[in-house]
Symmetry: D2
Subunit: 133 residues, 4 copies
């Protein structure tokens, strides 16, 4: 099974726009938190990886907004690896308030070195199927 992780957080005041809703650009920052927490739950730290020259850049991001989120609401974000190749990882996201689906997201990140050149994802980040092989 592909790894997944459930993150819980509360909407902060400056994340909310003049309509009273979380600004649509913020959802991508929430998704990034989800990716980092998924990584942490697998025993890795993105901060450490950057120090070792393993960087990830976002090459594609997409979100469908179903229902607005408001200040101070407690949200849950389900992050899962949808697909992984030698250099890329697709993550899928579902953001909910209690049972209500607020947004669905999809991102593709690519592994690069400090110069920004594509490099293979390190073995320790490979999914269970890959590790078995």
């Amino acid at each position: 099974m592909m790894p997944e992780h459930l993150t819980r957080f509360r909407v902060r005041y400056p994340e909310v726009d003049a309509q009273g809703f979380v600004h649509h650009s913020r959802f991508f920052q929430y998704f990034e938190i989800g990716r980092c927490e998924l990584l942490r739950s697998l025993g890795h730290s993105y901060a450490d990886m950057e120090r070792q020259g393993v960087l990830f850049v976002v090459v594609r991001a997409e979100c469908r907004y179903r229902s607005p989120a408001r200040y101070d609401e407690e949200l849950t974000l389900l992050t899962r690896v949808a697909r992984q190749t030698a250099v890329r990882i697709d993550h899928a996201y579902e953001l909910r308030r209690d049972g209500t689906l607020l947004a669905e997201g999809l991102t593709t990140i690519a592994c690069v070195d400090r110069a920004g050149e594509l490099q293979p994802i390190p073995d320790f980040l490979k999914g269970p199927e890959k590790r078995k092989g």
Copy 2:
């Protein structure tokens, strides 16, 4: 022809992340600037429209990142209406630094009232074809 607009702006320091690049979530804020400036070039103000109860919410947003943007670079953003229905507008975006394409985006916004219910896009915002009819 569908309306389009070219906006020029400079990358601000806090828009750049620890990798030295504009954070991917910021591109959606740039696209929003593009939409507002396109509207302004047509003689309308989004601030005024909100005061009159004509709100737009983003229901879908997508971006493909081609090349990074850095602090203090001057960028140009081409924003155009790709498609318009009775209640929705699709915008397409191309963000460039000189000739280099940095990102391509797509958003769908929907017209809602203060209660968040869908409402028809006002006549004065209808495209030239619609106005002709």
Copy 3:
């Protein structure tokens, strides 16, 4: 004794600037989280208060930066009420990473109505001394 509260949180990636440090403007957003969590610890919700027409605006903010904060570090923020008048509250803040003091802040917030006019702070928010009287 004046109320105080200790909040714990982790630095998010887009909060860090191109120097690799939390941007100085972000500290004021952390302080705001501290104020909200202090309020919550006293049994109140700022979101509810806004819905009831009790708003607070920041009229003064100050920060002295001692040491930088980095991505993914876990920080603790001590927020306390330093002084309270009929319409204003001064909060003092100490942001730390383990024992190290990163920043000291001070804000003054004023209680206003929906029209932005000063109004007295509601009784339920008055300090213990005031409530005794």
Copy 4:
């Protein structure tokens, strides 16, 4: 006379909070734009200076808020050097909408090397009095 610069910019949508006003933390980002533009008006680029190992960190920041700023308003920011020592520069700011004073700010920045150690401000950034001496 100490150098000063007048910057003009428009409030962007995600800079405005749920009260409909520019969030107080954003004013410090505006002040940073003012510092950079003042530097640019003197023929220097902060981006270039960082690449040469001349970094500035904010060691103190303060703002007094007089009147709120709203989405899409065009603001003018007067930035001036208030005081300069061998390693520190104090800037003072006045943010206005037409004649109305919205905020007054003060920051102290210190010159550091890549390791974060204090270093003397380069000669080319010294004020006219210093250069004369």
